[in-house]
């Protein structure tokens, strides 16, 4: 087993880090404070190819592997959790399902603009009554002539109002199984912004990742062309689950980045901050805390990279993705919390990045499947 990154990956990391330090870090506080979507950063990332990293070159992407993509989200999240999740949601939740399940026409039509970042992607599964439980879906799509007619709403949608292309999960029919229970047949669709009947509801006011545009999507007799169904009719649940498996790698990378960022800030801080006449780095408590934080962060990194490799090489990588996300998110929460503690009073103020990082970290335990859901996936695989 090879734990060494290739020179290419090292150089890609250096690129992502330089970009993050130069373009993203200076805006992170303001983006959080003012809850502003960093549109200019997205445009710069588009120019640098960051919005199409694992998309093949034939579709206008960079043709890189999932690991490179995960490293991009990781490095961005080190300085700004908001920016990290923008790339993650766009790539894993919109580009990836089109690449995996799209027809040749759909790929040709949507991927180049998405990969070049001319258009931004989003994914709509969650509803007020349905989170990771797909059977709770209420949004419906009914075929009427050459068009699907969508009705319903989606909530907590990342890149909500800023995206151009949306993958929307909806119920297309209800069947009855042998025992007489009704079962919802679910399908996936590609919906473009600006389609009549597609509008935006409330903007969420969040604890963290506050620059991320989290919106409710509303469909009222929204008519989309028949050919915009993604994958076969009735395969939507599988598509959604498989998409989330990939998404979890992105979120795990985001969590990992937050932990690493908080750790870096803390190491700098404890060397400079003096108490009782010496730097707080000289106290054993500080030293041991940092040792724990560093060890756990590195363990999280190994799980995240392993999951990224698994997506590259395996058909099914649900368990790897679940473990990576479960652990990285927990580590992010623990490390950022300790980082705030080691910063003392300053750490509780918005002048210091660790305060924001701690708030940003919390969501990684919740979205794209809570930690509890990850445990269900993992234990399910063990006990099967």
């Amino acid at each position: 087993m090879d734990f060494m990154l290739s020179k290419q990956h090292e150089m890609a990391r250096a690129l992502f880090r330089e970009f993050a330090e130069t373009e993203v870090k200076p805006l992170a506080q303001e983006v959080d404070e003012t809850e502003t979507f960093p549109r200019e950063t997205v445009e710069k990332m588009a120019k640098a190819g960051f919005l199409g990293i694992p998309i093949p070159k034939e579709y206008g992407g960079q043709g890189c592997d999932i690991l490179t993509y995960a490293m991009c989200v990781e490095e961005l999240s080190k300085v700004c959790g908001t920016t990290g999740v923008i790339v993650s949601a766009h790539t894993s939740l919109c580009c990836d399902p089109i690449l995996t399940y799209g027809t040749q026409e759909q790929k040709q039509k949507y991927l180049p603009a998405l990969a070049k970042g001319e258009k931004l992607g989003a994914f709509g599964l969650t509803e007020p009554g349905a989170g990771t439980d797909a059977q709770g879906q209420q949004t419906k799509a009914v075929l009427d002539g050459d068009e699907w007619v969508l009705n319903g709403s989606k909530i907590f949608i990342t890149n909500g109002k800023e995206a151009d292309i949306y993958i929307i999960i909806a119920v297309t029919s209800v069947s009855t199984d042998a025992k007489g229970r009704s079962k919802k047949i679910i399908s996936a669709f590609i919906v473009e912004k600006g389609t009549p009947g597609f509008s935006f509801g409330t903007k969420e006011k969040k604890m963290g990742i506050r620059g991320s545009s989290t919106y409710e999507l509303i469909f009222t007799d929204c008519r989309i062309p028949k050919e915009n169904i993604l994958g076969a009719e009735g395969k939507g649940f599988g598509i959604a689950m498989h998409t989330l498996d990939g998404g979890r790698i992105g979120i795990a990378a985001q969590a990992l980045g937050l932990a690493e960022g908080a750790l870096e800030r803390t190491i700098e801080y404890v060397k400079e901050r003096k108490q009782f006449g010496r730097s707080i780095a000289a106290f054993q408590n500080t030293q041991f805390q940092l040792a724990d934080m560093d060890t756990k962060t590195e363990a999280a990194q190994l799980l995240v990279y392993k999951a990224a490799k698994a997506k590259e090489t395996q058909k099914n990588y649900s368990v790897e993705a679940a473990k990576a996300k479960l652990y990285a998110a927990e580590v992010a929460m623990e490390v950022t919390t300790k980082a705030v503690q080691l910063h003392g009073g300053y750490g509780y103020t918005r002048e210091y990045d660790v305060e924001r990082m701690m708030r940003d970290a919390k969501i990684t335990e919740i979205y794209e499947g809570t930690s509890e859901v990850q445990k269900m996936v993992i234990s399910g695989a063990i006990l099967k």
Partner: protein, 348 residues
């Protein structure tokens, strides 16, 4: 190359718009000192079109001799004809030392000349002296005397190197402006003026000047500024920053500030120095009314020279300041501005 044939200290007397640049007189001053150590003369090489009148000023500041290369092709600085002028002077007069100012012109001209005459060139020197090479005797190696030892900062000012050019002549250096001293002016001093024209025939290396635009200076990024006048909580108001701006104007400096000034809304965030602002390392940093919290110090303690003005004598800023003045900034800063104005007016 017969090194013994090369004699005398020559300096390039840079002029722009038929006005001598400050560096020209600084080089004459330094050249005179070096010439004295070597028991020789300092010669100014004056290049331009219709610039003969400037020779007297060079004499007044210590030039023993002026070589005048005057030709219409030399009206505006262009690399090729100026290179031809200096290379021809070197070929004909064989100086042992040739100094050029490390100005935008000199740093373009110097390398081209040194490449044409095949000698070494040491860039951006801050100290020049006559000494031995090697500096300390090395057994089995001849120690040369009367060498030009050229000292310069490198690696972004992190190191200092002293360079010699033992086997080639002239020993060439570009010299940082503002470092060497002009000699005292002597109106009665006269120099021998020798006119020399090597002939200027335009060739492919002559570029055409389409336009000359005098630029207006824009606000500088505080990270690029050579001098920063920085204010903190002690400045007390946005209006009071005017005092700092006036001081900065006189010094050609840029205004920056501490976090307290940003938080109070007196100055924008992009001027903030410190851990959560920018890290700066100017040649001179004025810390005015800045107490010097560790977060601020982290962003500026690498400055070459730090002058702090603060009324609280226990302020931590004094721990990193080269020169600390305990006192009232409202009195000291305006007085300093006036004094500097007077000083610059007197030296005009």
């Amino acid at each position: 190359m017969n090194i013994a044939e090369y004699k005398g200290v020559f300096v390039f007397a840079q002029q722009v718009d038929n006005e001598l640049s400050g560096i020209a007189l600084e080089l004459v001053g330094k050249g005179k000192e070096l010439a004295k150590d070597l028991g020789t003369e300092v010669t100014a090489v004056l290049v331009g079109s219709g610039v003969k009148a400037l020779a007297d000023e060079l004499a007044a500041y210590g030039a023993d001799k002026v070589i005048l290369v005057d030709d219409p092709e030399l009206k505006e600085y262009r690399t090729e004809p100026y290179t031809h002028a200096l290379a021809s002077v070197i070929e004909k007069y064989k100086p042992e030392i040739f100094l050029v100012g490390a100005t935008a012109i000199g740093r373009d001209l110097g390398p081209r000349v040194s490449a044409r005459v095949h000698t070494g060139l040491t860039a951006d020197c801050t100290r020049l002296e006559i000494g031995d090479f090697p500096i300390n005797p090395i057994p089995g190696r001849e120690q040369l005397h009367n060498q030009l030892l050229m000292t310069r900062p490198a690696f972004g000012g992190n190191t200092i190197a002293t360079i010699a050019c033992p086997e080639f002549r002239p020993q060439m250096a570009t010299v940082r402006p503002g470092v060497m001293q002009k000699a005292r002016k002597d109106e009665n001093a006269k120099a021998v003026i020798e006119e020399f024209n090597p002939g200027f025939t335009p060739n492919n290396n002559y570029v055409e000047i389409l336009d000359i635009v005098k630029a207006v200076a824009e606000t500088e990024d505080i990270m690029d500024a050579k001098i920063l006048v920085s204010g903190g909580r002690g400045v007390c108001s946005a209006e009071n920053f005017k005092m700092l701006e006036d001081l900065a104007d006189v010094l050609g400096a840029t205004v920056s500030c501490s976090r307290a000034a940003v938080d109070s809304g007196w100055k924008p965030k992009d001027l903030q120095v410190g851990q959560t602002g920018k890290t700066v390392r100017p040649n001179l940093y004025f810390a005015i009314g800045i107490s010097g919290a560790i977060q601020h110090l982290a962003g500026m303690e690498e400055s070459d020279v730090i002058i702090a003005i603060n009324k609280d004598e226990t302020a931590p800023i004094f721990d990193v300041a080269d020169y600390g003045i305990v006192g009232d900034l409202n009195k000291i800063v305006p007085a300093l501005t006036e004094r500097l104005k007077a000083e610059f007016a007197a030296n005009k």
